[in-house]
Amino acid sequence: MNTHDGLERGYRRLLAVYPWQHRRSYEEEMVGVLLSEAEPGQRRPRPAEVADLLAAATAARFRGAAGGLRDEAWRQAASVVVYFGAILMLGVSLRPLLNEAAARISFDARGLDSTTVYASGFVLDVESLLRPALWALVVAALVLHRRRFAAGAAAVLAVLAATAEITRVAGWYAESPSRVLQSFWLVTGATLIAVAAVWLIGGVPGSQTRGALPRGTALVVVAVVLILAGGVADIAQRWWFSDWSFVMTTDGGFMVRIAALLFLAAAVLLMIAGALQGAPVRRRLVVFGLPVAVVALMVPYGFAGFMFSSQQFATPIPVNPLQWTLLIGGPAVTFVVAALALQRRERHLRWIALGQAADGSVKAP
């Protein structure tokens, strides 16, 4: 072995940090250039070369990952997330209005003064109207979405709607940090929809981002109606049978069972709507859903102690910086890791398919 061989091996070790596509295209060329640039008698890569190659390799890896996120399946998945997400958020934001309406009807039916509804915390204010109005406008912009301008309008509206959700939840922090945690999945979901909507502005609109509603939209709309109906059943149960036992005429559990059935039917419809997408889009939808799932699981399990302690004191315990980092960084890291893992998995599947195709062509007579 001479010094040249050792130096070349050193360069190749550094080049191994690059993504395989880059190595396949440029490794031999780069080794030639690096060896041409080497000083006589140089035995190993110089620190400046090491730094340059590592920085360039890291940048290439990031570019590769970002490039992968630009493929059509990701765009379609983002489009489905914005469509379905906005419809679901419209349903979620309509629930307080339905809650109040159910309470008023309940009071009126019993000849009670419905103004006492306000004492129970149901207040029809600007915020409770603004949220569904914004999500409804997002859905409208998406349905009319045929040009880049409409994509921009949908994105701006989605950002405003997400901001309204964040502002609403943040408003509870001073009095009840645990309530903020309980609703953090909603904030995460709204943020995800806004990010996906902004992402869709760039690039060439795909087939599903140019006006056509994604497959399964009707099922999602029905699911939202069922969620709202379940909410009404839930509210009716609470107002008619629990809080006002003197008017209880039937088994209170009946309405609970109705609500549970409606929620279950909605969940099944949402799953069918997701399954109607192609396999690559479906896999990406799972990646999009993971950050919300992580928050939904992290709060009751990871923050159980905090939630319990926070409610035991007159002055609520604030969320500390580490907990904020977990709440905000956890979903973001989950998305990035899941997206990279999916790209890696699909690349391996492509290799296997190519190998099988090549194998088949060799064996074929």
Binding site: Y26, E29, D52
Partner: protein, 115 residues
Amino acid sequence: MSDGSMREPTFLVLTALASEPQHGYAVIEDIARITDGRVRMRAGTLYAALDRLRTDGLIEVDREEVVQSRLRRYYRLTGVGERRLATETHRLRQQAGVAERRLQGRGIAYGGGPA
């Protein structure tokens, strides 16, 4: 690639390839000559620029050769690359012109010391 201003390594690589198709090491040498030795581009930076420029369609592979068992790939400017380089050159010349006039207005001779 956006139509915004170009980064210096990109501009230098396009300038190096504007005269004739060149391989990677020749581009490094040419850039050092163009900049009077001020810029000695390293391999990682060079190939990051070449990869980006190929992806954006500003350069393409001209030919490949094997010299002393090593692959040499020659790159050349595309029509899009020529137009981008021309646009950037015009932009830089305009800005340099403004700077020159203002320096002259302050009584400073173009190229350094006082007029």
